[in-house]
């Protein structure tokens, strides 16, 4: 059990997270409004809007939004049969916990379809209410790991953590941690939804190797490829020529680079864009695209390079 959203909704900083994630919860708000008659104290917007933190901050739009969200989440809490907790458990969540969850997704059914599976997972389900974009990444049940892409803390200029009170909503970034890669990324900025792909079905061709090479050269600024990448491309060239059987690493690397290139293109950053992917400012884009490409094939960074060639 981690987070009680009804508590989070009481806090002004949570409201700052709304524009990117909770903005997509009109259904929740509608449900909350419809059910307010039976929710007892759930018609609490007026009460919550008078909470001192907001008054102190004078952020009227936050108060208004918070009230609506509060009602929705309070109703959701009631619907799911748990009481508001006295302390937001988000404060106790450690990165290690999240990493553990990513490594053992079967223990944490966080998808909306699973939100009532068990009492101790209600918090995750509720959390997903505020991060609806995440489960939309992969609706297929078959690709369960990706479907359970785990929402994580919002990120702001100070690093990981929940946004501070008074943080402008537009300054808040949110993301997710890929269950396969364990990496933090923003799936909404990764060039399309997470897919469920199988590298084992790929056939390594010389054309594909050329495309992968061209993609990787876009990171070099005209310089030489990194040694591990050059070595992997050499293996792929040999494989494409029929002189060697591919290993899982070869297939992973090959499909990953092609997938990554396609995701850049989806973002309008294909070769024709002329954008320098090796620019110092391009890390976040690369991280999002790279991680999404890992998630597409449900692999981690340790699965990309052949043993002995790993960076």
């Amino acid at each position: 059990m981690r987070i009680d959203r009804s508590d989070l909704a009481d806090e002004p900083d949570d409201a700052h997270m709304a524009p990117r994630r909770t903005r997509s919860t009109p259904d929740d708000l509608d449900a909350g409004a419809k059910d307010q008659g039976s929710a007892g104290g759930s018609d609490g917007p007026s009460g919550s809007s008078a909470a001192p933190p907001d008054s102190a901050l004078g952020i009227e739009r936050v108060a208004a939004y918070r009230a609506a969200v509060d009602a929705a989440y309070r109703q959701d809490a009631i619907d799911h049969g748990y009481a508001r907790v006295g302390k937001a458990e988000r404060e106790t969540i450690t990165p290690a916990t999240r990493r553990t969850e990513a490594e053992a997704p079967e223990r944490h059914l966080v998808g909306l379809d699973n939100r009532s599976d068990s009492g101790d997972r209600l918090a995750e389900a509720t959390e997903l209410e505020g991060f609806r974009a995440v489960p939309q990444l992969a609706s297929s049940d078959a690709y369960h790991n990706v479907a359970k892409t785990a929402p994580v803390l919002a990120r702001n200029a100070l690093g990981l953590g929940y946004p501070a009170i008074g943080t402008a909503a537009d300054d808040v970034q949110t993301g997710a941690r890929g269950p396969a890669s364990g990496r933090e990324f923003d799936p909404e900025s990764a060039g399309g939804p997470i897919q469920q792909l199988d590298a084992g079905k790929a056939r390594i061709t010389s054309e594909g190797v050329q495309e992968a090479t061209a993609h990787l050269q876009r990171f070099t600024g005209g310089g030489a490829l990194e040694v591990p990448e050059r070595a992997m491309l050499d293996r792929l060239t040999t494989i494409a020529a029929g002189d060697m059987k591919p290993t899982s690493y070869d297939l992973n690397f090959y499909t990953h680079e092609l997938d990554e290139a396609a995701r850049y293109a989806q973002l309008g950053l294909g070769p024709e864009s002329g954008v320098d992917l090796g620019s110092p400012t391009m890390y976040d884009v690369w991280n999002d695209v790279h991680t999404a490409a890992l998630e597409d094939y449900a692999i981690s960074g340790a699965d990309l390079f052949h043993p002995g060639l790993a960076p």
Binding site: P95, R99, R155, G159, L160, S181, G182, R183, E184, F185, F219, T220, G221, G222, G223, E226, P228, D276, L277, G278, S279, P280, M282, Y283, D284, W286, N287, S300, G301, A302, L304, F305, A310, P311
Partner: protein, 85 residues
Amino acid sequence: MSDAPLSGRQIRLLAVVAEGGGDWDARRIDLTADARYGPGDGTVLQELEALQGLGLVVRDDSRSGVGGRWKVTANARPYIQGTEG
């Protein structure tokens, strides 16, 4: 600043940066750290920036390189035990 307590993860990351000898960009450092040690709590760039705040690494944006190129400072030497490149 060099006596700041560092996590094991931070020390390993420092060693990776040192291995690059100032030539590796954040992407290469990320790929290396991820392959060897797995992901960190945030992105590698965030981790590097945290180390930068401790005066243990510096960023060089004068050359092309995803997320800038990074190298360790003299303050990092006590932590990397001769792995500095």
